[in-house]
């Protein structure tokens, strides 16, 4: 049974992949720029003995060793950070060549890449946000106080301690928290901390470096925020892998997401995890007043799903989902309820 729903509009899909490309290049060219002075400080200036973080090389009895040092805690990182082993022997280098753009040491080149893709990142992000606010999609994952209250329950559900998901709508509270903070906190902050390093902008906007605690603080925060982006990206990719990688990939490439049991093979080690979710009623949201039917009652649900399969023919291009349908027409809720298979899947998707 193939029940495809149209989940991602073309703007979302295009900006998603352009953003992925821009982020990778910004991080790698950023490491190139960092390599020119691999120390971080707090405040306006950089007194050499005041660095709180350094990734550098030291001469250890004639041997060049790379180290990572943070607040006096020093770790030998020879081979990866500080010193890279090359064909011509060990070379001092904060981030290794395979993590920087360009791969050789060239600050000017790194800056060229960084500033070009900073424009791509900013304009692309702006297009995404404006378009998805205008079509109402953004509202679906805007984090609210209600979501904040549900976060612990959702976390318990993720860790399989709690059986029922507290999710309402297309996105669960933790997803909303992640997306909202990336769009409306992390992104503006990384752009502002980047701008705070510009001497030209500093002339008119003294508050710009000041809001971060000085230009060197802005540089340090810019660096730290980078790793929040990297962390978010790894978490995002992990979730994509955990919740049906082929289906997820299809939906972000073509827009179409398959709601019902997938034809695509999934790793064996995932199946125990999934079976558990399929067997137990996973959702309380829409239906708390209604008696939960047996999970096997998939019959009436298929009708709903086939109804939803019409969504592709609609010209609106607005993603539709089981939950929304259910909320709009409460009489359907009884039918949607039994599809724990889908719902369990949906809960942790994206």
């Amino acid at each position: 049974m193939t029940n495809l729903v149209y989940r991602h509009n073309p703007i979302t899909r295009t900006t998603h992949w352009l953003n992925a490309l821009a982020l990778v290049i910004l991080v790698m060219s950023g490491f190139q720029i960092f390599n020119a002075h691999p120390h971080l400080y707090w405040g306006s200036t950089s007194e050499p003995d005041q660095a709180f973080l350094s990734i550098a090389a030291a001469n250890d009895d004639g041997e060049v060793r790379g180290f990572f040092r943070i607040y006096g805690w020093q770790f030998d990182t020879t081979g990866v950070l500080g010193v890279q082993n090359t064909e011509m022997g060990p070379a001092p280098r904060a981030f290794p060549s395979w993590l920087t753009i360009p791969g050789y040491f060239w600050l000017a080149g790194g800056r060229r890449w960084h500033f070009f893709f900073a424009w791509i990142f900013a304009l692309n992000g702006l297009l995404y946000v404006i378009y998805n606010i205008a079509n109402g999609h953004m509202r679906k994952f805007l984090f609210t106080a209600k979501d904040a209250a549900r976060m612990p329950a959702m976390a318990l559900y993720y860790f399989r301690i709690r059986k029922a998901s507290p999710q309402e709508g297309e996105y669960n509270p933790l997803q909303k928290m992640a997306y909202t903070s990336v769009f409306f906190a992390l992104t503006p902050l990384i752009i502002l901390s980047g701008m705070a390093m510009s001497p030209q902008l500093n002339t008119a906007f003294h508050w710009l470096p000041a809001m971060f605690g000085g230009r060197q603080s802005a540089r340090s925060i810019h660096f730290i925020l980078t790793f929040l982006f990297v962390g978010f990206t790894f978490g995002h990719v992990f979730m994509v892998l955990m919740t049906g990688v082929l289906n997820n990939m299809r939906s972000i490439v073509t827009g179409w997401y398959k709601e019902k049991g997938s034809d695509f093979p999934e790793p064996v080690w995932l199946q125990g995890f999934k079976e558990e979710m399929i067997q137990k009623p996973a959702r309380v949201s829409v239906s708390h007043q209604l008696p939960a039917p047996e999970p096997e009652e998939i019959g009436p649900a298929q009708k709903t799903h086939q109804g939803r399969a019409d969504a592709p023919q609609q010209d609106s291009g607005i993603p539709k989902s089981a939950t929304n349908d259910a909320q709009i027409s409460p009489e359907n809720s009884q039918q949607t309820l039994p599809i724990h298979k889908n719902e369990a899947k949906k809960d942790i998707v994206e």
Binding site: H37, W98, I101, R112, P199, Q200, T203, A204, R215
Partner: protein, 256 residues
């Protein structure tokens, strides 16, 4: 069995990742050498210059700090000081032979001695110096505003840039030089500094005279100045990009 499958999977992902990374490195490096791609990347410079100047407007002053903020250490970056006999002998005698030559598209070409520059109206500012490498240092600078010099020599209407010719050279003997446009030349904090932290400008910081241009990064702040040329275009100087570092790929607009 599950475990072995997992480790197999992880191993495959890891191997693919490494292969991808080394392939990426090669791809990025070859793009870096590609002229067309490079000029695409370089298009961001003009966009940054226009947007930043639009946002800031004219003649906004860079933040000025207090005596307490002055850095204990200020890295003397760039080329080593000039090692010619003329330079060292003149430095030892406090610059009796040195002159600042003003030439090019000006109505009144001139040569100024250090005492002459010191007798002109001066400006003192405690500002932050931001190196392109990423570090920052604060120092107190005293010097003559570039506008004072411009009033005296009167650049002609075709002059668009001030080009600073310097005495220091790199390993290959190429002289340092820099250029700024009139928007920055007229900025109140753009000064020709002869004092740093209440003392005569030290050799390693560009004695006898260096540029302070607080709207831009450190490499624009030419040291060891001997001549200022007012020109319509810098295309015929050295490699034609408007400065020593610019000729090697750095941005002419260093406000970012």
């Amino acid at each position: 069995m599950n475990l072995s499958r997992r480790s197999l999977l992880l191993g495959a992902v890891q191997g693919a990742g490494l292969l991808l990374l080394s392939g990426c490195e090669k791809a990025f490096n070859s793009l870096q050498q590609n002229r067309k791609f490079l000029s695409l990347l370089e298009s961001a410079e003009g966009a940054n210059q226009h947007l930043q100047r639009l946002l800031t407007g004219k003649n906004k002053l860079a933040q000025e700090f207090t005596e307490q903020d002055i850095s204990r250490y200020f890295k003397p970056n760039g080329n080593p000081p000039p090692i010619t006999m003329d330079y060292t002998a003149d430095a030892a005698k406090q610059w009796p032979a040195w002159r600042l030559e003003i030439s090019g598209s000006v109505k009144q070409p001139a040569r100024f001695s250090l005492p002459e520059l010191r007798s002109m109206p001066s400006r003192t500012q405690i500002t932050r110096h931001d190196c392109v490498e990423g570090w920052s240092a604060i120092a107190k600078w005293k010097g003559v505003p570039l506008t004072e010099i411009m009033q005296r020599v009167q650049p002609t209407p075709e002059a668009k840039y001030a080009v600073f010719h310097c005495m220091d050279t790199d390993d290959s003997g190429a002289h340092y030089y820099e250029s700024i446009d009139f928007l920055d030349a007229h900025h109140p904090q753009t000064i020709l500094a002869y004092e740093m932290n209440d003392r005569a400008l030290p050799i390693e910081h560009g004695a006898p005279l260096r540029l302070r241009i607080e709207t831009q990064l450190g490499y624009k702040h030419a040291k060891y100045i001997r001549k200022i040329d007012f020109v319509a275009s810098y295309e015929n100087i050295a490699a034609g990009k408007g400065g020593y570092w610019e000729d090697q790929g750095y941005e002419w607009y260093a406000g970012i």
